[in-house]
């Protein structure tokens, strides 16, 4: 019974945050661009989310006749399900998690690597040249950044001596891992942005070049699932940064642990939006070049140094 309640709670929290981010992102972008953002529907424009949702549900759910129908329908579902599955291993507070897994970090990496399929297949099934270009960019970009996304987390895993997210957080009781693992944090942050293909790394969907990239042909709630999936990805990466590098729910006792967790996550979500507001999109080959030539060696070096120091001080 408790188990089902926790699952429902996690689903509710994640979907609420993802939907709320539609509003929050637009307001924050407005804030950083000297505008107001949506402020008409309801108090402070809060019910804009509801209006958007109603609109997106009632749009025509169109499957192009030239598309590969089963794959086209499957693609957005893959994205949502992989991200929601990953939230199963995210501990929100001590005891408040669906699954206390011993391979939580690996589970996250596996799911994020499966998430590539949604974009690749969505772009391919659309049977549209822009979508295909977007899909190819996405597959190359996400494959690249997965490699050192995993490697950048290995330093944390070494320090905490576990793949379990709960134990990783408990190991930060005497100091957040951002201090010993600063390079790992920076690499994970960059890889996380690339993995959720948010701006400035939204190369798969670059509006200026590829119309909307892999989801050009999508409409209605199928597009909505890509849309919400992106926000859930942002929430997921922010939650993982909080868990891995910023001590998760640990904090002074005047607030309950879950509040600490959400506060820290919210800071990173806002940081993601700030990145979107301020940075231009790099060129495709620049992104790949930075990935393979700078970040991968850095991640490997980070692992090497962390391992050597751990061995020395043991």
């Amino acid at each position: 019974m408790i188990f089902i309640l926790i699952i429902a709670g996690v689903l509710f929290i994640v979907l609420t945050i993802a939907a709320g981010l539609i509003y929050i992102e637009r307001r924050l972008l407005g804030l950083w661009q000297d505008r107001y953002g949506p402020n008409r529907v309801g108090p402070f424009g809060l019910t804009q989310v509801v209006a958007d949702m109603i609109k997106i549900f009632f749009k025509e759910d169109w499957v192009p006749p030239f598309s590969d129908r089963p794959v086209f329908v499957l693609a957005p579902a893959i994205l949502i399900s992989t991200i929601l599955l990953t939230f199963a291993v995210v501990p929100f507070a001590p005891g408040f998690n669906v699954l206390d897994s011993n391979i939580a970090v690996l589970f996250f990496l596996g799911n994020s690597s499966l998430g590539v399929y949604s974009i690749v297949l969505g772009g391919w099934a659309s049977n549209n040249k822009y979508s295909l270009l977007g899909a190819m960019r996405a597959s190359a970009q996400m494959l690249t950044y997965e490699v050192f996304m995993g490697l950048s987390l290995m330093g944390v895993v070494m320090l905490a001596d576990s793949f379990n997210l709960r134990e990783i957080v408990e190991a930060q009781r005497h100091g957040w891992f951002i201090f010993p693992q600063f390079i790992g944090f920076v690499i994970f942050l960059i890889a996380g942005i690339a993995e959720t293909h948010r701006l400035p790394f939204d190369i798969p969907e670059a509006e200026g070049e590829l119309v909307a990239g892999y989801h050009s042909e999508y409409s209605g709630m199928k597009f909505g699932m890509f849309f919400v999936g992106e926000y859930m990805g942002v929430t997921l990466i922010s939650a993982l940064i909080t868990l891995m590098f910023f001590g998760g729910w640990l904090g002074p006792a005047f607030l309950p642990p879950i509040v600490w967790f959400f506060l820290k996550t919210a800071v990173f979500i806002c940081f993601f939006i700030l990145l979107r507001a301020s940075l231009p999109r790099p060129r495709y080959d620049q992104l790949m070049g930075v990935g393979w030539k700078i970040l991968l060696p850095l991640a490997l070096l980070n692992i090497l140094v962390t391992g050597a120091l751990l061995l020395y001080f043991k």
Binding site: L31, W32, Q33, D34, R35, Y36, L274, L275, A277, S278, L279
Partner: protein, 171 residues
């Protein structure tokens, strides 16, 4: 690397700047008097309509949204029998105002003319005609024109010489 952080910081500082947006329905923006908005027909200082139905505005209109019919009243004064502007076609270019020899047709700084029914955008003369002089005060075309239309006698105008007696041989 440093420039990325700097641009992040500067963008963040924009959170404390003044908003550029004008919240429109509550807060109206200032529009200059020569703004090209809703078209009106004005009257001269005597309160008679200025339009002499010369068709120049209709000829100048690039989208052909103006239609009118001229008739002649008592004492030879021309005026439009009907004057119709289709604002669903009008592009507010202001050519009609430039073409008008009598300052009758004028554009005003009013743009709030949304309608739910397209037919309501066809304005007739009684919708267009205002009871004032618009932007050009004190101007009366018949006071400087060479004809007698009940405003002044022929040759009585400001820079006008008395009419030549064509039957006389004297210069």
């Amino acid at each position: 690397m440093f420039s990325i952080l700097r641009s992040l910081w500067y963008t963040f500082l924009h959170a404390f700047h003044k908003r550029e947006t004008i919240l429109y329905p509550e807060e109206k923006p200032y529009l200059p008097p020569r703004y090209r908005g809703r078209i009106i027909l004005s009257r001269d200082p005597d309160g008679i309509e200025r339009c002499v139905a010369c068709y120049l505005c209709a000829a100048a209109c690039p989208v052909d949204c103006i239609s009118l019919q001229a008739i002649e009243g008592e004492n030879g004064r021309r005026y439009p029998a009907f004057f119709r502007i289709n604002f669903s076609r009008c592009i507010f270019c202001g050519y009609c105002e430039e073409a008008c020899p009598t300052y009758a047709i004028q554009l005003t700084p009013d743009f709030e003319m949304g309608e739910y029914n397209r037919q309501n955008l066809v304005y007739e003369k009684e919708h267009l005609l205002i009871s004032g002089e618009g932007k050009y005060h004190g101007y009366d075309f018949y006071k400087v024109a060479g004809i007698d239309a009940g405003v002044k006698e022929k040759g009585e105008g400001a820079n006008e010489q008395p009419p030549v007696d064509v039957k006389s041989l004297m210069p």
